[in-house]
Amino acid sequence: MKVLVTVKRVIDYNVKARAKADGSGVDLANVKMSMNPFDEIAVEEAVRMKDGKAGTHHAGGAVTDILVVSIGPSQAQETIRTALAMGADRGILIQSDIDVEPLAVAKLLKAVVEQEQPSLVLMGKQAIDGDNNAAGQMLAALLGWPQATYASKIVLSADKADVTREVDGGLQTLGVALPAVVTVDLRLNEPRYASLPNIMKAKKKPIEVKSAADYGVDTASRLTVVKVSEPPRRQAGIKVTSAEDLVAKLRNEAGVL
């Protein structure tokens, strides 16, 4: 079966984002950019499914084709290339120089899904820039497909996926009929580093570059960003040197015991 995996180019996980002084956004000039970490997990899972790794599928649930889709600037081709080096087969970049809101992302992906007819769409549960946690659910709704979000385990069969979900207070396992959208959480797997031979091989894999207009989708923002600011800073407090001192302060000064 064919699996569509989405990847987004975002600020690197280890870089602390800072609001620009003029409040117009987050400063991304000269900042290291990488694949959204949740998307890396989605790519890894698709590759494991294709490799026939134990635990990822039952008979009939084998993955044969992995299509990677990204929406972003031309540099997002590098992000797609990373996914191809991890083991995906081909890529589509829908080039956009503006940040596309989750609803328009879902509309673009729906158009790709209608052309490509994948059995499963795997996405990160959220991108670590906008932190919206919405595009996957929106895509499932627009397609009228079932969804399973926050996956920590996926077992694919020919016509369904059993997905264990991380929910408040525990785990829930749903069996979703395919085609379906599954969004992945951190614990699903640990993504591989691409090997040098695979990085070389990935250079020959095809990437199609498209525009939103090719899919007839209006990506204009629906929301207006009024400003982006630094969160209020917490001041470091005082040091205590004994349990007696600490408990006295918590009881008398802070009043929380």
Partner: protein, 314 residues
């Protein structure tokens, strides 16, 4: 403006995340209805009817709604949307799961994780793991918002709104396979007044539970953990406090052997009082702690337990 708040509950009791979301709704309007979807959730609906500021309560039940399956929840809400200008739900794992489906079906952008209502169309939300705050204005014909409960004070329970029953809905293409609910005598992490969290410095699962659990029990606290401790297998995943886990804002947060990575701070920095116990004086956790104690937890926690035993804990 009419507002629909979709309640968070466990089918028996309303969670206080609902009280806090109604508080956010009151900043928008005084025409607030609460929708309780679930199975066998009559008592939760009765409790919702008592919430201050609520005009009426709607209840819809089915097996799939009892498990908050997103497609079923969407199927109940979308036909109701014609009567409302805004739909709000707490940003819990259930709310985050179904709300974007509703927004997409209504063809509107969702505003996720609202921490402040500036005016009827302008909201503040954290982005980049809370390292920046974004103020956004919407001109959408309808608003779909998820509310970060820790940012709002709960409304009281002095009301008596009427309850109406609606038809339930199913998710025909999704089967329920099973669930593992973590049972605990301790308060729920998201709503606890005191949280005691352990980090990777604890070194093992045995040590984590030996050190953290008794302190938490003495204080009537919930137990949390840093992602590093969870990833190392010292604590279960639902203990995780941080950007990728739960966001908490208790009256007192005690961090034991936690260095204070950005991702952890994003989940607890709005706590009223933060105590950090760590032997590394340079640990970033001390930069946000009201009371820092540079010491080895191995000697500190027994001393703290003794000291707490000496006086009343209320």
């Amino acid at each position: 403006m009419a507002v629909l708040v979709v309640a968070d509950h466990d089918n028996r009791k309303l969670r206080d995340t609902t009280h806090k979301t109604v508080a956010a709704a009151m900043a928008l309007s005084n025409e607030i209805d609460v929708l309780v979807v679930g199975q066998g959730c009559a008592s939760a609906a009765e409790q919702a009817a008592k919430l201050d500021g609520v005009r009426k309560v709607l209840v819809a039940e089915s097996d799939d709604l009892g498990r908050m399956v997103a497609e079923a929840v969407e199927a109940v809400i979308v036909p109701l949307a014609a009567s409302y200008d805004a739909i709000l739900t707490p940003a819990t794992s259930a709310g985050k799961n179904f709300a974007p489906r509703v927004a997409a079906k209504l063809d509107v952008s969702q505003i996720s994780d609202v921490i402040e209502v500036v005016d009827a169309t302008t909201f503040v939300r954290p982005i980049y793991a809370g390292n920046a705050l974004e103020t956004v204005r919407t001109a959408e014909p309808k608003m779909v918002l998820t509310i970060r409960p820790t940012a709002f004070k709960p409304v009281g329970e002095g009301g008596s709104a009427p309850i109406e029953t609606l038809a339930g809905a199913d998710a025909p293409r999704t089967d329920f396979v099973g669930e593992e609910v973590v049972k605990s005598e301790r308060p729920e992490l998201g709503g606890a007044k005191i949280v005691v969290s352990g980090g990777r410095a604890l070194g093992s699962s045995e040590e984590f539970h030996r050190v953290i659990d008794p302190l938490a029990d003495k204080l009537g606290a919930a137990v949390g953990a840093s992602r590093a401790a969870v990833d190392a297998g010292y604590a279960p995943n639902d203990y995780q406090v941080g950007q990728t886990g739960k966001v908490v804002a208790p009256d007192l947060y005690i961090a034991v052997g936690i260095s204070g990575a950005i991702q952890h701070l994003a989940g607890m920095k709005d706590s009223k009082v933060i105590v950090a116990i760590n032997k590394d004086a340079d640990a970033p956790i001390f930069q946000v702690a009201d009371y820092g104690w540079v010491t080895d937890y191995k000697t500190a926690i027994p001393q703290l337990m003794d000291e707490l035993s000496k006086g009343p804990v209320s």
